[in-house]
Symmetry: C2
Subunit: 267 residues, 2 copies
Amino acid sequence: MAKAARGHGLAAEIVGIGRDATRLEAARRDGALDRVTTDLAAGIADADLVLLAPPVGVIAAMLEDVARVCGAQTIVTDVGSTKAAIVRTAERLGRTRQLRFVGSHPMAGSEKSGYGEARADLFRGATVVVTPTESSDPTAVKTVSQLWERLGAGRIVTLDPEAHDRAAAAISHLPHVVAMALVDAVDRFEPAALDIAARGFRDTTRIAASDPVMWEEIFLANREALGQSLIAFREALAELERLVAAGDSAGVRATIARIKARREALR
Amino acid sequence: MAKAARGHGLAAEIVGIGRDATRLEAARRDGALDRVTTDLAAGIADADLVLLAPPVGVIAAMLEDVARVCGAQTIVTDVGSTKAAIVRTAERLGRTRQLRFVGSHPMAGSEKSGYGEARADLFRGATVVVTPTESSDPTAVKTVSQLWERLGAGRIVTLDPEAHDRAAAAISHLPHVVAMALVDAVDRFEPAALDIAARGFRDTTRIAASDPVMWEEIFLANREALGQSLIAFREALAELERLVAAGDSAGVRATIARIKARREALR
């Protein structure tokens, strides 16, 4: 985000806040950050916009500290992969003090992490979900949406936080679990097969190489919606398997044809 | 194959044989085929090498006709995605007549099909599995291996047909079923989510857009090994799900870390 904001000239000053300042050094040396600090209050003072980007399990708790130290005009957003717990925490906090928060989830990134993988054009053409609620400050909603647009987003989609979490479970968290299980299944039951794996396997399992800390927190934070999407996935898998086991050529063909058409219709 | 063989200057004459000559026209016009025919005997006459590339369910039956019309020196291979049924049929036929057959499976291709998607460099750097048996003619094994090397293959792996089928189930057929089930699950239970699907979902499900006829035949031809790999997959999935449902952060992290390391170790 810092690299993209700098690359697009969106901020006069960008301050990196983290628990370990040495981990922010690469971004500072590269010019994406102007300065770094481990002190939340010092980092946030005078900020127009605060972006929260730690692993998702930490964001809700962090919001309490942020709400305490940020100014009345400061707009706060995050890039957490789940939204309900975070947004509902922000709403609760907002009832007793000023907190101009709007949740975001840019549908961009990769299995890679760390500043070395940062790209100023990461958000170009991306879909970004923002999750305002009835109590959101309209200026904050507008500012956060504009932030993403100015970073190059191709489309801003507004969803309520719970709808976001169900959608993210379906098209992101479920695929991650499935890709991981795929690698694990082959590794444990037919490991020699990995030696001949080609592009199909590589693409299908690329996201199985994602960061363990980040994804453990996402899975746990969204475990309910993830569990529901897993039920749906198992049903779809069982149906295909039943047709194959029964030798139902026509049924298998029709099912694959239907799925192929749906996959090809993705924008 | 014809385009690649032509591109690499491997054949003086390339003849396309198919049930519907009009479907071979694009390849002929493009120069990949010198001539086309619907007559198997006429097409194979005087051929040094015959390559069988119909949907996999047809290959074993086709071998009988091929064995009847090809010459004593003709070498026959195929590119079927399963090998046991085909190779065992060739062995049986080889007991009563001359049939210099060696099975092949190039680990290359994509979800696309048809001559419009053909690329002369498709096999560059690819792993190709060849599946000779004790009864295979050594000259045929050598010629078929050299064919793939001259088409640019990066590596020739020799497997017995049954081992190939288990490996192919694990790293190709299982991922296809899983990718298809993933699209189907989201489409049926959270279809609106497809609207915000990004690169992770796209890559994980790219092969869900594969050809229905081709893949119905592969699934059915290899249904036993596929069924076994699905059992392994379900176990791996259930283990991950169990850890997530239990809120076992350390367990989820350790599992993801192990899987990530395995995925990153793929050559």
